[in-house]
Structures are given as structure tokens and as C-alpha cells.
Symmetry: C2
Subunit: 309 residues, 2 copies
């Protein structure tokens, strides 16, 4: 049996990336009218995380905000005036929602991807029973198929430093495929449903409901695979049509992986089957990521109840 503290404050972020539109529009709507995200046992605060990027419908102004939630930035009271806009913003968000502020219990961060990821739930730890039980609740009760992406830090260079680290618990709801700068009603409605289901879980938890032990299937991050590139570091191949949109499907040794601009197939030559995610995400060209290789595993989720005194 695990216990966790009662949840007093929940933040729902949209526009951490300013051109991921369903989170932007949901949060804008909730800022006008909070009724739909209000639950009796805790406070819910909607927030446009990167307002300047939202205004310009761009992913970011200077640097990716969702990699600025570092210990270094958390320790700052005031960044140097020459620091990138998003560093200033990470420090501000920490002063409002993080350890230097009201120390919110849960951060729910709404994202979109151009990859065919479906209703992906991203979590950063396999050890946080509260978040795991919330994820299991989403899987069982949202009525949506929800692949779970575990970004637990097995290799240091994959350090995420994302918004989830602001809160005690955190989850990203990463829905796709949706082009940058486009609002798809279907994705907006699924994003809305997932947030409501998270809030319902939290309220039940606060009320003392016991969540029994469970198992949870997750895709754990292994490593990134980049596009083949030429001497100018430009792409010399594309995601192969047989791999495109096949996020979460097994990629076996010998399967087609890339197609060169001249039409030649490049096969996957790894030793074992992997499960690609974030295949052909627009924002990852500059990061050197054609997809993330993951492995499938089953986590044990311990029984959970709210801590009483």
C-alpha cells in the first residue's frame, strides 16, 4: 500500500508549445469559464504556459520551454536579463506553480504531435504510485485507447527537464496526429475528455477511494534514431511509407525504416524488436530525432490511498 498527500492544487497547462492548438484553445476556454474543470476537493488553475509563443503561433520564441525546467533554473530567483525568453518563463512558472511558489500537487500539460501517437500519456517515473494509478484510471475509464510513454531517465542525455517537474506529480497528454498551427475538433474533444478524467480521479483520491494494485503496460524510452543526413546535415532520407504512422507498432530487424530521396529503402538493422514513438514529429527534425525507440514492459502499480495525517 502506497499513500500520497491529499491534492490541493492542480495546474492545467496549454501552449507550453505555442503552436499545439488543442491545449491552447482548451485552456483559453477554461480561463473564461472554469466551471468544467472545477471539482469540490481541490483548486484547478488553467495556464497558458508560453503566451508569447501562443500569440505568434510558434513552438517557442528563443528555446524550447519544455526543456527549461532544470534544477539550475529552479534555483534562480531572477535569470540574467539576456537569458532566453523561455528561461524567464520557466523561472516565472516555478515561482507560481513550483517549489518557489505554491508547490502545486499535480501538473497536467497538454501537447500535440504531428506523429500518429493517438492519446498518448507521458510520464517521467515508474516509481510514483499516484501518477501510475491516475494513468491506469485514464486507461480504464476514459473510454479512449491510451498508450503510455515512460521517459524515465536511463541515459543522462535524455534528461527531459519538462513541465511535469514543476509539480509533485505530473503528466503530459500528447495527442496526435495534428499539424502544428491546426485545431482538430476530434483531438480537442479527446484532450478535454482526458483532462476531465484526470480531475475525476483526483477528486476520488481526495475523497479516500482506495485504488487496488494493478499492472500497467508502458513503452519505456530506449534511445533516439536520427534521419540519415548528408554532409550539410540535411536529410538524405525520409521515414519509410511502411513506418510512417506506425507509432507503437513493432519494428523488427529487417523492416523498412527510411526511404532515401533517390528512392532506396534503408532497413532497420538493430538486434531486437523496438516500438517506435514520435515518428516524423515536425519539431524533432532540429533535435536530430526521426523517432524514439522504446521497449514494451509491464509495471506493477501498488495500491494507493490518500495519506491521513
Amino acid at each position: 500500500m502506497s499513500t500520497a498527500r491529499v491534492v490541493r492544487r492542480v495546474a492545467v497547462f496549454g501552449g507550453t508549445h505555442g503552436n499545439e492548438m488543442s491545449g491552447v484553445y482548451l485552456v483559453k476556454r477554461w480561463l473564461q469559464n472554469q466551471e468544467a474543470i472545477t471539482r469540490p476537493s481541490f483548486l484547478t488553475v488553467p495556464c497558458i504556459a508560453n503566451p508569447r509563443a501562443v500569440e505568434r503561433c510558434r513552438r517557442y520564441i528563443d528555446v524550447d520551454l519544455n526543456r527549461q525546467f532544470t534544477q539550475e533554473h529552479f534555483s534562480m530567483d531572477f535569470p540574467p536579463s539576456t537569458a532566453p525568453y523561455e528561461v524567464h518563463r520557466a523561472v516565472e512558472l516555478n515561482k507560481k506553480f513550483g517549489a518557489k511558489g505554491e508547490a502545486f500537487d499535480v501538473i497536467i500539460d497538454l501537447h500535440n504531435t504531428t506523429s500518429n501517437m493517438g492519446n498518448c500519456l507521458i510520464i517521467g517515473s515508474s516509481m510514483d504510485s499516484f501518477t501510475l494509478q491516475m494513468v491506469k484510471y485514464l486507461v480504464q475509464r476514459s473510454g479512449l485507447v491510451c498508450p503510455v510513454f515512460l521517459t524515465e531517465n536511463t541515459v543522462p542525455q535524455l534528461e527531459m527537464a519538462d513541465s511535469k517537474r514543476l509539480g509533485v506529480h505530473g503528466i503530459s497528454l500528447e495527442l496526435g496526429a495534428q499539424p502544428q498551427g491546426v485545431l482538430l475538433a476530434d483531438i480537442y474533444l479527446r484532450h478535454e475528455r482526458l483532462v476531465h478524467t484526470c480531475l475525476d480521479f483526483i477528486h476520488k483520491f481526495n475523497q479516500g477511494e482506495v485504488f487496488p494494485p494493478e499492472t500497467l503496460e508502458v513503452y519505456r524510452i530506449l534511445h533516439v534514431v536520427d534521419y540519415p543526413r548528408n554532409n550539410d546535415n540535411d536529410l538524405s532520407a525520409m521515414v519509410h511509407p511502411e513506418l510512417q504512422d506506425k507509432d507503437w507498432h513493432p519494428l523488427k530487424p529487417g523492416d523498412p525504416m527510411f526511404l532515401t530521396l533517390d528512392g532506396e529503402t534503408i532497413k532497420y538493422e538493430g538486434d531486437s524488436t523496438v516500438y517506435p514513438a514520435f515518428i516524423n514529429e515536425a519539431a524533432y527534425y532540429e533535435k536530430g530525432i526521426a523517432f524514439w525507440a522504446t521497449q514494451k514492459e509491464t509495471l506493477n502499480v501498488t495500491e494507493l490511498q490518500v495519506k491521513t495525517k
Copy 2:
């Protein structure tokens, strides 16, 4: 019987919009190796139309290049130094490809859209037999389903001033759905096939082949339909899930058209059936366009042969 002059010079543009990736990568490849686009009877010149926007993977730097091909800019030798980058670029392109330069016979401009437009062929006139016969050839011989979008100027405010006006004849190959900043192999291959088919047509035309009279089904532009907006000019509704991806399908009075952010359906209340195109194109949010209403009509295409002497 119509005649047209023999074709001496053809330009293939990619990156008129810097984040429309299949044209960008095809043209980059052809700049390295022109063999695939070489035909014996004419010169083919590939060109990255907006190189700075391509470098930054943005639609444009200052203004939409594809609306700068105006008579005013065509008359300029040197724009004011304070003019937007794309005005400078339109003047440069005119000096190379247009009337102030080598007066290219055909401009083929490669575009992508986030809308589900398929292999859309865009033409600006119902009077140019050469272009109509080339389009008919694409429809019949490319092996691809190709809806034809006719932007002929029935209402002055829809003045396009696009790249096609640089050449004597011109066509845009507008393929989708593809997110901005993403290269989809499937679309890249279809774009390549359409360009090859255009070049094959032109070579046959130059060789004296007679193209018989034909009819051609086109979607002629009627007017634009904007999103419902609030007092801040921000969207208050999205494209309805039943309309999303239904480019070229009939939209009948009473059909669902938008879904408000609060979940209410807004129906189409026009008097007659229209055929929407460019539904939910990312770049058109700022232009105030949710989709373009078109009507279906059949053009007569006159017999065509190259002019001798």
C-alpha cells in the same frame, strides 16, 4: 484548334513557402542532379523560391511570397530597401524567370497543404489551352486522382498574385494533407511523379503531338468562409468533425460545418451545395479562411498543337 509557342524554358519552384517540405526536398535534390528533370526539347531549371524561409523552416519571413507577384512588383527594378524580404524576392524572381528576365514559358510551383486536398492541381485561368491540356494530361496519365482547383478571378479581392503569373503558363501542385515542417515520403513520391508527367507532356507538345479536344471537371472558386470568431478575433469554433478532411465533397444546406469550443454544432446555411477546399489549412487561420467554397463545373478544352513559325 489552339496553338501555343514551343516551350524553351521551364522552372520548377520549391519552397515558395519555406515549410512545405516535399517541394523543398525535391528541388534540393534536382539542384544536385538535374538528370531526372531533363528533357531533350527544353531547359528545366529548379529553384528554391524563398531560400531564407526554407532555411528557417517557416512559411515566410515578412509576408507571403505567393501574394507578391503583382503588376506593381513586376514593374520594379529595385524595391525600396525597407520593403519586406519577399517583395525583394519577387522582384529577383521576375528578373530571372519573368518578363524582366528570360521570360520562362512554364512555371511549376510545388506546394503542400495541411488540408486533405489530395493531388490538387491549381490553375488561374479557364482560357489557357496549353495549361488546360497539361492538366488533362495529368488527370489521365499520372495514375493519380487529381482534383483541379480553378482560382479564376471572379471577385477582385481574391486576386492571387501567385508565382504562376511569372511564366507564360503556370500550375501549382498543391499536395496534402501534410503538416508544415514534415516530409511525408508518400507525398514526396506523388509530387515527383506529377512533375515528371508535366515535363513529359511538355516534351510531347514540343515534338508536335496534337492534343484532341477534351472536357475537364474543375472546382471554381466562389468565396471564402471564415471561422466563427469572438470579440478578440480569436476562433470561437472549429471545423466540424464531419466536415474535416472532406475537401471536394459536397456541403449541402443543413450539413454540420463548425463545432463551437463549447460543443455546439453550427450548420451550413447557404442556399446551394458547395464543394469546400483548403478545409482547415494551417496558414489560412491568419487570412480568415476556414475553407474556400467552390462550385463544380465542366470546361471545354480546345484541341492544341505547337505553333509552327
